[in-house]
């Protein structure tokens, strides 16, 4: 066979494979839209998104997912508050401060933790953390917003840490040396030079970590408590969107209003993660470090 023919075949092969995976994903998205939109025949968009009562099997049923949206949002926000500082600081420590030997041991450990199955974390939260929280804070129940956020934070820390670490580690040595040469201390160099230089990578890490938290199902199903209400305090039980979908989908009759409502909830969830990724994309372009002189 001629070299050119081989080149062409390989090119078409790769294009086919790439097209295939993109098409499949696109079709799943279309499916989500087509299965979710019919709910608007039963309730208005406003009632669906801002309705505070979720009674999908009552007669008459109520399909308001506001409480679920708020729950997802709060759980993600709170887990971010815990996970972002911890994850980024661990990354800074590993890339800049720790000795090579420590970093070599700790980094794989952190990456190993990223592969922890979520059901294990959920079980831990349910059996160990829930009673602990209940006793420590003297509250009636340990399965709540706080517990779920904590567990999600544990899940996203490894993601945030390991991607940030890569970003920080890849900051050009010359920048650091220049900073030292100007008389900056190590701390000043980290805060003023290294972190700003790797900010786009750190942002990507944060957004990826948060996407993982917002889409996470098993953990919130097990430890969030599952009450479909807008929480009044940190220790109220909540019912984030993925938990609601997972718990109810198996029993929702095919093609019923409930079934469409769950798909529409999935659509809202998808919109959330989509916006997350757009923001991540924007930030990583906006603050991209091009060359060493642009800082």
């Amino acid at each position: 066979m001629k070299q050119q023919t081989i080149e062409k075949t390989v090119k078409w092969c790769f294009m086919g494979i790439a097209l295939f995976s993109i098409t499949v994903l696109f079709l799943i998205m279309l499916f989500l839209v087509f299965e979710g939109l019919p709910i608007l025949n039963h309730v208005s968009f406003k009632e669906f998104v801002f309705g505070i009562y979720w009674y999908p099997t009552s007669d008459p049923a109520d399909f308001g997912i506001f409480a679920l949206i708020v729950a997802s949002f709060l759980v993600t926000l709170l887990s971010g508050v815990v996970a972002i500082p911890l994850g980024v600081m661990t990354a800074v420590y590993l890339a800049e401060i720790a000795s090579t030997r420590t970093a070599e041991i700790v980094k794989p450990l952190v990456e190993l933790m990223a592969s922890m199955p979520s059901v294990v974390i959920g079980f831990f939260g349910m059996v160990v953390v829930a009673p602990f929280i209940r006793k420590t804070f003297g509250i009636p129940v340990g399965l709540n917003l706080f517990n779920a956020s904590l567990m999600l934070a544990f899940m996203s820390i490894p993601t945030i840490c390991s991607i940030s670490e890569d970003a920080i580690f890849s900051v050009p040595q010359a920048l650091k040396e220049a900073s030292f040469a100007l008389g900056a201390t190590h701390l000043e160099t980290i805060v003023r030079v290294i972190v700003p230089a790797s900010i786009s990578g750190i942002c990507t890490a944060v957004i990826l970590g948060m996407s993982r938290a917002i889409g996470e199902t098993m953990v919130v199903l097990m430890v969030a408590g599952g009450a479909a209400m807008v929480p009044g305090s940190l220790f109220d039980p909540v019912r984030p969107m993925p938990a609601s979908i997972a718990a109810e989908m198996a029993e929702a009759p095919f093609g019923s209003e409930h079934y469409h409502a769950l798909f529409a909830t999935g659509l809202v969830l998808f919109a959330f993660t989509f916006v997350f990724n757009l923001v991540a994309d924007y930030i990583s372009h906006r603050f991209r470090q091009t060359g060493e002189a642009s800082l």
């Binding site: 505070i52 099997t57 009636p140 129940v141 198996a250 929702a252």
Partner: protein, 271 residues
């Protein structure tokens, strides 16, 4: 010579086919997780008696069990509730005639933390608790402790029975915790001092305490004689009247031995 061998082969094959009992084959059961432990025990014991029958079992909930009968993906659909008129319409439209078989009874008991002094509630009190009108245990003669209402997911069969028999179709307060399984509920109630929940009688263990309802304790006797207010029959649905191996299996389940297995699974025999 070759011909004779071929003929012998055919003969042997036919003989083998004729000799195999008519009951051999596969039996598919799908549906309610409440019926699952019963079906599991009976299936195991039935397969020991009839090694040529393969029974495959799966859960997925009552609605899925009935759906499986309507779609023809199972021989037997398990359900912890009776078929809904919507589902009957769907089935008859497809030319399917679901037949219910009452195979066991189930009794749903309200449960509290083992250290809770309250031991009896009326159905009205239970309803008021789940409506959020009673918020402290001292209102029903207990300690000064906030009531933590724990419910099951709205799609579970146990929830449907509770909604029908206790709530009388009124809505459980939104702040009630929901748990996706009987086992999860036992875990949650067992570790929360102020909790109240409800489970199928078979899941009762020493970590939690069952309450009597209207002064009637939930037991097999009170369920069978109808005194206990929160009980329900469990069903297996088939397409049309049973025959062949489905009939044989069902007869076994309703025999004395089968009903004994029902009891071992934590449900209540029909007789």
């Amino acid at each position: 010579m070759k011909k004779t061998i071929a003929l012998i082969c055919v003969a042997v094959c036919m003989a083998a086919m004729a000799a195999s009992p008519a009951l051999a084959g596969e039996l598919v059961l799908k549906g309610s997780t409440t019926v699952l432990p019963i079906a599991q025990r009976v299936a195991e014991s039935y397969m020991k008696l009839h090694p040529d029958v393969k029974i495959s079992l799966s859960g997925g909930g009552s609605s899925n069990g009935i759906k499986a009968i309507v779609d023809g993906t199972a021989d037997i659909g398990n359900a912890s509730r009776f078929i809904k008129s919507k589902e009957i319409k769907l089935a008859t439209a497809k030319g399917i005639y679901p037949v219910p078989h009452r195979i066991a009874l189930d009794c749903i008991v309200p449960v509290v933390h083992s250290k809770n002094p309250v031991s009896d509630l009326t159905t009205e009190q239970l309803k008021a608790i789940y409506l959020g009108k009673i918020r402290n245990w001292k209102e029903v003669g207990g300690a000064d402790l906030r009531v933590v209402v724990i419910s099951r997911d709205t799609s579970s069969g146990t929830f449907e029975v509770w909604e029908k028999l206790v709530m009388k179709k009124a809505r459980v307060i939104p702040s009630a915790l929901t748990v996706p399984s009987n086992g999860g509920l036992v875990q949650a109630v067992g570790t929360t001092p102020g909790a109240i929940g409800y489970i199928a009688l078979g899941y009762l263990n020493d970590d939690i305490k069952a309450l009597s309802v209207n002064r009637v304790p939930g037991t097999p006797e009170t369920t069978r004689n109808g005194l206990y207010p929160i009980s329900r029959p469990l069903f297996m649905f088939t397409n049309g009247w049973i025959k062949g191996r489905t009939a044989d299996f069902m007869n076994y389940l309703l025999s004395k031995k089968g009903q004994q297995l029902v009891e071992e699974a934590g449900s209540i025999p029909v007789y």
